[in-house]
Amino acid sequence: MSNTRMAILKDTSLCVACYACRVACQNHNGLPENQKYLSLQFQEKGTFPNAEQHIARKSCMHCGDAPCAEICPVGVLHTNRQGFVNYIDNTDENCVGCRLCVNACPYDIPEIADGKMYKCTGCEELVAAGQEPACVDTCIANALTYGTFDEMAAKANSRLARIRTKYPAANLYGVDSHGGLGMLTILRTNPSDFGLS
């Protein structure tokens, strides 16, 4: 298997916020209803009748320089062959729930339940078998796609040309952030509107 860096691309200009991604992920990963690996954020802009609704996804961004993996005192986390930040051997058994990863994360992602940290793993067992992550596989609006980091960045840039005719601030977030993100996002508005820098 190659070590080509992979990425999930979220195109928020196509997202209908149906949460198929969230529930497919919960089922695949065996999460109870009150835990999730991904959530959506919403920002209204403008005033009626010229109002807009903008969306961002909040989930592990799979940083290229993953500060969570770096700081973990028991070495539970690592960057895998797809470039996603996952548990070593796909298990969190050794996590001690010390919260160092929570504090180190630039995106405020990891959460703790029953004394252990949890977050999106990039569905390593699926992508290693040639399938897509569970969220991408079920997306009904083509808002999530999966491919190599370079393919996803190129795809995003061709989409942006059309989106910018209505949303001049539209941009691709994540190519240069924190060593490049495995979770790239097409935003119709400035990243700072969602607290992203």
């Binding site: 200009s13 196509l14 997202c15 209908v16 916020a17 149906c18 949460y19 198929a20 969230r22 529930v23 497919a24 919960q26 089922n27 695949h28 990963n29 065996g30 999460l31 109870p32 209803e33 009150n34 835990q35 999730k36 959530s39 959506l40 209204e44 403008g46 005033t47 009626f48 009748p49 109002a51 807009e52 609704q53 796909n90 298990t91 969190d92 058994e93 339940a113 029953d114 252990k116 949890y118 793993t121 569905c123 390593e124 067992e125 569970a134 596989d137 079920t138 997306c139 009904i140 609006a141 083509n142 808002a143 989409r159 059309r162 209505k166």
Partner: protein, 747 residues
Amino acid sequence: MALSRRKFLIIAGATVAVAGGVTAGIIALNRREDDDADYQAATDPDYDDLTDFPSYTETQQAADVELKASFCNACSSHCGMWIHVKNGRAWKVTGHENHNRSLGTLCARAHGHLAWIYDPGRVRTPLKKVGENQFEPISWQQAAQEIGNKLREVRESGEAEKIFWGHNPRQTGVFYGTRFMHALGSSTVVTHNAACNTAIHCGFQNTIGRQGPAADLRRSNYLMIIGRNYGEGIRTSQATQFAEAIAREGAKVVCVDPRLSASAALADEWVPIRPGTDMAFILAMCNVLITEDLYDKGFIAEYAVGFDQFAATIGRYTPEWAEDITTIPAETITRLARELAAAAPACFVDPSWKGAFGANYANCTETVRTVAYINALLGSIGQPGGLGIGSSMATGFGNLNETHPAPPAPDVPRLDGAGRGGQFPFAPTPQGLPHNIARRAMEEPGSVKVGFIRHFNPVRTFPDHNHMKTGFEAFETLVVIETHMTETALCADYILPECSFAEREEVVENHGNTIAIRTIAVDKVYPETKSLDEIIPMLADAAGVGNYFGFTLDELNTARLAPLGITLEEMRKKGSITVPTNPNSMNPVIFYNEDFAAAGFNGVARWIEPVTGFRLADNQFRLLNVKQGYHSHTATANIPQLGQITKDYNTQRPWMNATKAAEMGIADGDWVEITSPQGTYRGQMKVTELIHPEAIAFPGGYGNRTPFFEFSASVGGVNPNDLVPFRMEPISGHAMLQETFVTLRRV
């Protein structure tokens, strides 16, 4: 494997907690012992093993995954899917790649509704009513005997026409339910449509001569979508095609909606409109197309009937006239009409579904007729990228008529007044009017002898809960075939437990160029539950008409598939198969409808206002009953994964306009009293710029009244049906879901 032991233990804990709560309600019932073998099986303590997550977890990690073909049951789209089964337990679902309604993906409801299989709140045995919300378990034998005796008595007294069947119309229920009614001597089958899209069916039937046209989203260059919300009123494939249109170079998507829905939020243009006035908007665009000579004269010459009569009425429908009614600027209306004409014929005004004019106002059937008119003016009907008229299987399903002839359709009046000779001659008869049956039962004692309801909850999904509940309780006997203790089930004299969608095989069904089957994916969790193909023959036997059901489901499906050259075994293995189709033929487009005129309605559709008008007094708002993509009406708020989305985002809140809210001193998240002539409810508001100042949008998925839906109760919310009175639209009889005003008061 990503499933860690820790996570499964968390699930196990949560499940036990819920089980404790819900079963308490059932255990409180009087248990009744008898010697029925099924009843003994149902009381065997071992039969809860499948819901024991810790023991399941012990072995699941190493287990193989088996894919079982099925289709979703969370809404009536029935998207094809694979159920992934591990150790005999449904683990997850993925979209069936060959099913034309899923195209390989599934929405949140499909994933979430696996919970229905293992829900400890399932109906586990036949139940007989002993008091308000109180039922005692009885055997199948007793249930069939008592229901059968009642049916025999009704038939012997010559009153079989006072029996009816109500359901969400999909193949298994259509086959068994209709055949059962015909065998008994009744002609009445009713569905959910009168609270959904009956105006669509009636309006198109009486203009383009067929029901259910669908926009050709894939090939259109200009999509004008009025009220329809593809991203939240989801049929998976259409949501995908909508998103493809959003992304397509050269295509323009315009969403006309009082609210910036999740769909409108993605559109090239959002045109907010005053609720209930869509017809005025469409008529004004027709005015522009005709007065500016932009319409397709070739199409009109070839297909239109009575165009001149319509053209003679159009002069008064100017964009300025419509601006006053719709609040859309006249110049916007003119521009949009011109843009449509420039894109014609690869353009459409969307035929919609429930949306803005499926069953909302007194003018909905007339609005749908004008949608047909404008698509005819654009020459888009039946054209690539236009208003599609569909296709039909080149080779149809087979049947059992040679060996097992179907009972003839009895020539008796329908109980609901729908169809020729009835109170509502234009109400589509495959769909009917369940709310009118409720009215009759109350007003004419003895008029409804026996009602059967299967997996359908009209008592909650039609306006005016008191009307529906009182009416359904006034039937001499109500039998509900269900998996869960719904509001309608609570009105029943008998509740018969059906096994869940994953535990039963069903009649092979067809949608366009797809045929699909639901196979048995997992063993029955509650062994005493039965599938419909077992229940109906049992009831028919008891009623003395069992001779019409002397075949098995396997024999039926084999016969259906035979002309297609497909074996039942192949069908089960593949799940969904693409079959050849032929395009449907074009019919004339009826602008002037003689039947309507003869019945005292308008020959040509003319502007009419909602019953409640369209101008508001101070502190009055129009109510919108809107969809969210992760709920199917009130059927899903009790699914923890889906109800939790609502809780996490507080999306049970009605929306109101920010400027109006500021005038009234209401802030986002404030609690208010919401009042209509039907009553007063407390609700927490979402204050937003994304909605017309005159509207308040109520998500329709909340406000269950059954005490058996505990998670739903914790979600909260106000159901719009509680604010709307019982009404019937004069032409098609639909339930007019949005004909009311509401007022707000800060508390």
